[in-house]
């Protein structure tokens, strides 16, 4: 099972945190501090796994971002690596060649996409197309709500004129 997902920039800034196991806010910041210093200091040719507090942290660097997933000791590390890649590809398709700035300004979308791929620390959907379709459908709902709100407000505006 996955315990948490972290996105850390090369400068150590947190871009996304998703917790599937209970960590108090204090523990969370401690975990982030510990792991970012450990992972950011690793050389480029080393393996992508770090053993940490009896767990395994699988990380991969894409451009300026480190994607880290902490999973159980006996989980398949190579699969976890594939999950990271799967997530990155999905983001890439959604944003169209994703970059760190996309994830900063649309951090909530990165969360929504992650929530369609992982749930309760397990793999939820293996098809990128399905994931993106679900995201698109929910965004349509948002648009519809917005339009409704604006038409409502214009009706109100007209009525109060």
């Amino acid at each position: 099972m996955i315990h948490f997902v972290l996105l850390i920039s090369r400068q150590g800034k947190v871009r996304l945190t998703k917790w599937y196991s209970p960590y108090s806010q204090k523990e969370r910041s401690k975990v982030i501090r510990e792991l970012s210093s450990e992972i950011l200091s690793r050389g480029p040719k080393l393996c992508n796994f770090v053993e940490w507090r009896g767990f395994k942290v699988v990380y991969k660097r894409y451009a300026s971002l480190y994607f880290c997933i902490c999973s159980d000791q006996d989980d398949n590390e190579l699969e976890t690596l594939s999950i990271i890649h799967h997530y990155v590809e999905t983001l890439d398709r959604y944003f169209g060649s994703v970059c760190e700035l996309d994830l900063i300004f649309n951090f909530h979308k990165a969360y929504f996409i992650l929530d369609e791929i992982l749930l309760a620390g397990e793999m939820q959907e293996t098809s990128k197309r399905t994931t993106l379709r679900l995201i698109a459908a929910q965004e349509e709902l948002l648009e519809a709500a917005k339009e409704e709100a604006s038409s409502l407000s214009s009706i109100i505006a007209q009525a109060t004129k």
């Binding site: 945190t17 699969e79 594939s82 969360y111 793999m123 197309r129 709902l141 709500a145 917005k146």
Partner: protein
């Protein structure tokens, strides 16, 4: 409307934060935003609530406190619209965790949303529930989730399945409710539902044996078929990764098959074919393919034995191991670790490669490889493996050395074929990485050294050599210091040379050099310095020629700021100065340490295992069993600042001393600070001086055995809490009086009546005092401690004391502590007498004495009669 919140959009705030050049600027922006958000919260602002929460989440990620936004999440979740709910649930998962009580308030909203007509809202609720639900929520909402497992839309079914995993993990009792609906999911065609169904079944099987039985019986074939179809499926763009259709599903299926096959031959049998197919046909040039292979190998190794498959699996691991990709090698090491128990021989074949991995530049790989090597070591290969590891120790990185050293020490001590090899290897480790060696390891080494009688000379010479090059390694210094203290004579005289040794010339002063370096070394800690002091004392008695120099060194420590060192220095100095005659016996060589006891105590706390294991103290022979040993123990005492009886390190230390410290009393030396030093010294003397009859020793011991005090004198000394010594063993007290010319003994011996000491004889040149004690239950016998003090200014030599008694008395004289009586009361000679009065109660003791000595070479004789014995003797 709030004047602040209308102003900035989320995007603008992020821009402002990113534009901040300093941390202070960023804090200012965040503070301003937080103030605006708080204001909006207070005004119960509806329009921008979700924007504010989004801002809060961003601020939260930067590490600022955002607890004030928690209630906003609940309000957003409770609002009817999808956009509000979506951001509300996101905030809930980010800002809260399952342990917060606020979460309980959301249960009702969740319940409503799980029954919502909009499937996306149902999806949001399931997602939140799956990620943060607590046990209470799991209980409350399990029926809803169960129902949603049959929802028409597959995207809800898959979410419900994962939610169920969370629920049964939180509340395992609920597992059986999910068995039927979970197995139904295994027949689905939709990959999302299928993969989540497989995961749910895997977790169910782990939690409930009942579910395992059910799934094994009903679904094994279905799963095997699904896996076969998947493995043989043609290219499908939607699920394809590197030419493989849905590797994630592959892996999850293999994982579930592993659970089903474990411990069940039939199920294992039915999956053999497909496992063989996956193991041979899967492409292994991409991560995804290797992930499947890895999982497949794991399954093959776990299910019931099938020889052919195992060979296949181990071979693929061998391929993994020779892969150039670090990730693959790491995984292979991991897997070989699991394979060792199943097929140790096969893994041994890869030993050379694994050993190479120990030297890898990657810490994760090194760690795995080291652990693997550790389990691969056995009696036959320990020599080459240990050599490789020790060679590597020289070049290894510092942060790896601790682990490596612990493992090497453990291997070496576990499998060493002979003592000399063990000692050699340990010396190498100590010279390379002595600073990383744990205390119990060098304690163990010392135990082995003392037991290897024929190697004492060899060891001390080897240590001496090692010290010349590696004096910066603390543990090496300690062992060297200890051995020179014990076996210094073997070092200097080249005793017991082995054929393999190079001859070496070490003078006495070279040996003292080592001790001096050790004690004066800046980095030496208290223990090392204390050990060096003891070694100096011991060495001085073996080589009187160095006495002066050693005395000088010891004197320098008399003013040391560390109480421990100061005290030792003062005590040792007085041994050197005043008690020449008993010194050699006082600092005799340590008796051989009891290896069996030590090993017994150590068991389970080898460096490889958790070193926190605390073994109960075993009753070990202390003073009572071998009265000679403890004295020497005392001097070999290495002092930990705070001996913690519960930690294994401490235990071992105590073993070394042959003393059980665990009931060490908490006494403070503050009571009699001025006397305490001498007290101990006197105790030392009274126990050890051979001139005394056993009586005084017996007294000490009997006072222990009688339970007068729960504390053995050794404990006292060892724990260096020195006050109250006089009370805790009365036997020693008279000695103190006599030596220091104190008044009558204050001892509170309640074993029998207390008798005042008397001055039995006094002339212008000599004083003789007697102190008395009786063994309980034997009133006829009196033990007398005679103490002679020289009142003149000249040393008396060839000192002899004789006594005669009437027929109704029986007299037994023990040898005197010395035949030289220093001048001017500057020391004394003691002698014990035992008088048995056959007419006890009727007649008093009476004694005639004659004292002969040489004064400036001239024979002198003094005679006298003693009539002033206490009446009741």
């Amino acid at each position: 409307m709030n004047p602040f919140s209308s102003g900035t959009r989320l995007r603008d705030m992020i821009r402002a934060i990113r534009a901040s050049k300093t941390a202070a600027e960023e804090r200012a922006v965040v503070r301003k935003e937080c103030a605006a958000i708080r204001a909006a919260i207070n005004e119960n602002d509806q329009d921008y609530r979700h924007r504010n929460l989004a801002k809060l989440m961003f601020i939260h990620m930067l590490g600022y406190p955002t607890h004030f936004g928690q209630m906003e999440c609940l309000k957003l979740i409770a609002s009817p619209g999808f956009p509000e709910k979506r951001i509300g649930y996101l905030g809930l998962m980010l800002l809260l965790d399952e342990r917060q009580e606020v979460l309980m308030l959301v249960t009702n909203s969740l319940k409503q949303d799980l029954n919502h007509t909009n499937q996306y809202i149902v999806g949001l609720a399931l997602c939140a529930l799956g990620n943060i639900c607590s046990a209470e929520m799991a209980r409350d909402l399990a029926p809803e989730v169960e129902r949603l497992l049959q929802f028409r839309d597959p995207n809800i079914r898959k979410k419900a399945a994962l939610c169920s995993i969370r629920i049964i993990k939180k509340v395992p009792d609920l597992a059986e409710n999910f068995i039927n609906s979970a197995t139904a999911l295994l027949r689905e065609k939709h990959h999302g539902v299928l993969i989540t169904g497989v995961q749910l079944c895997t977790d169910l099987c782990k939690i409930s044996p009942e579910a395992l039985e059910h799934v094994r019986k009903k679904c094994t074939d279905v799963l095997v078929r699904t896996l076969r179809d998947l493995a043989n499926s043609p290219y499908s763009p939607e699920y394809d990764i590197a030419g493989i259709t849905d590797p994630f599903l592959h892996i999850r299926l293999l994982k579930l098959l592993r659970v089903l096959g474990e411990g069940d031959a039939d199920a294992s049998d039915s999956m053999n074919d497909i496992l063989a197919q996956v193991a041979t046909k899967t492409e292994s040039n991409k991560v995804a393919g290797n992930a499947i292979l890895y999982e497949c190998v794991q399954t093959i190794m776990s299910i019931e034995d099938n020889g052919g498959l195992r060979v296949l699996a181990i071979n693929s691991l061998g391929r993994f191991l020779s892969n150039r990709d670090n990730n693959i090698r790491y995984v292979a090491l991991n897997m070989l670790m699991k394979a060792v128990t199943a097929d140790g021989q096969a893994v041994q074949r890869h030993r050379a490669t694994i050993l190479e991995c120990v030297k890898d530049s990657d810490a994760s790989i090194r760690k795995r490889a080291l652990e693997l090597v550790y389990v691969l070591v056995n009696e036959t290969n320990v020599k080459p493996l240990a050599k490789e590891l020790i060679d590597y120790l020289e070049v290894s990185e510092n942060d790896f050395r601790g682990d490596l050293t612990a493992k090497i020490c453990s291997i070496v001590s576990k499998f060493s074929p002979e003592k000399i090899w063990y000692i050699d290897q340990m010396l190498k480790v100590l010279s390379e990485a002595g600073n990383y060696v744990k205390d119990e390891v060098w304690h163990a080494l010392i135990v082995v050294i003392t037991n290897a009688t024929e190697l004492h000379g060899y060891t001390v010479r080897a240590l001496y050599r090692a010290f010349q090059t590696s004096a910066e390694q603390e543990s090496l210094v300690r062992v060297t210091v200890w051995c020179i203290g014990e076996y210094g004579d073997l070092l200097v005289n080249n005793v017991g040379m082995l054929d393999i040794e190079d001859p070496i010339t070490v003078t006495e002063s070279d040996a003292v050099d080592v001790l001096e370096i050790a004690i004066k070394r800046h980095e030496s800690d208290l223990t090392t310095k204390a050990m060096a002091l003891v070694a100096l004392l011991k060495f001085s008695s073996r080589f009187p020629s160095c006495s002066e120099r050693i005395k000088e060194i010891i004197v320098q420590f008399k003013g040391n700021l560390m109480l421990e060192l100061q005290q030792r220095a003062i005590e040792f100095n007085s041994i050197l100065a005043k008690h020449q005659n008993i010194r050699s016996t006082l600092v005799e060589r340590m008796p051989v340490l009891d290896e069996a006891t030590f090993i017994g105590r150590k068991a389970g706390s080898l460096p490889g295992a958790a070193s926190t294991t605390t073994m109960p103290s075993v009753g070990i022979p202390n003073g009572e069993a071998k009265p000679a040993a403890p004295l020497i123990d005392l001097l070999d005492l290495s002092s930990d600042d705070a001996p913690a009886p519960s930690s294994s390190g401490g235990d071992l230390l105590h073993d070394l001393l042959g003393v059980d410290l665990s009931p060490a009393p908490q006494q403070s030396g503050a009571g009699q600070p001025s006397k305490s030093g001498t007290d101990v010294l006197l105790d030392l003397l009274s126990v050890g001086s051979p001139a005394q009859s056993s009586s005084s020793t017996v007294d000490i011991l009997s006072s222990n055995t009688n339970g007068k005090s729960p504390v053995s004198p050794l404990d006292d000394i060892s724990s260096l809490s020195l006050s109250s010594r006089a009370n805790s063993n009365a036997g020693a007290a008279p000695m103190m009086d006599l030596l220091d010319g104190f008044g009558p003994s204050p001892s509170k011996e309640n074993n029998g009546p207390v008798y005042p000491s008397i001055t039995a004889y006094e002339s212008s040149s000599l004083r003789l005092t007697f102190s008395f004690s009786k063994q309980p239950g034997n009133p006829e016998t009196t033990n007398i401690q005679a103490t002679f003090t020289n009142l003149s200014s000249t040393v008396y030599t060839d000192f002899v004391f004789q006594a005669a008694v009437p027929k109704f008395l029986q007299l037994h004289l023990d040898p005197a502590s010395s035949n030289t009586l220093p001048a001017a009361g500057n020391g004394s000679v003691t002698q014990s007498l035992k008088v048995t009065n056959s007419q006890h109660g009727k007649k008093n003791l009476v004694m005639r004495i004659r004292i002969a000595y040489k004064l400036n070479g001239k024979d002198t004789l003094e005679e006298g009669q003693i009539n002033n014995f206490p009446r009741e003797l």
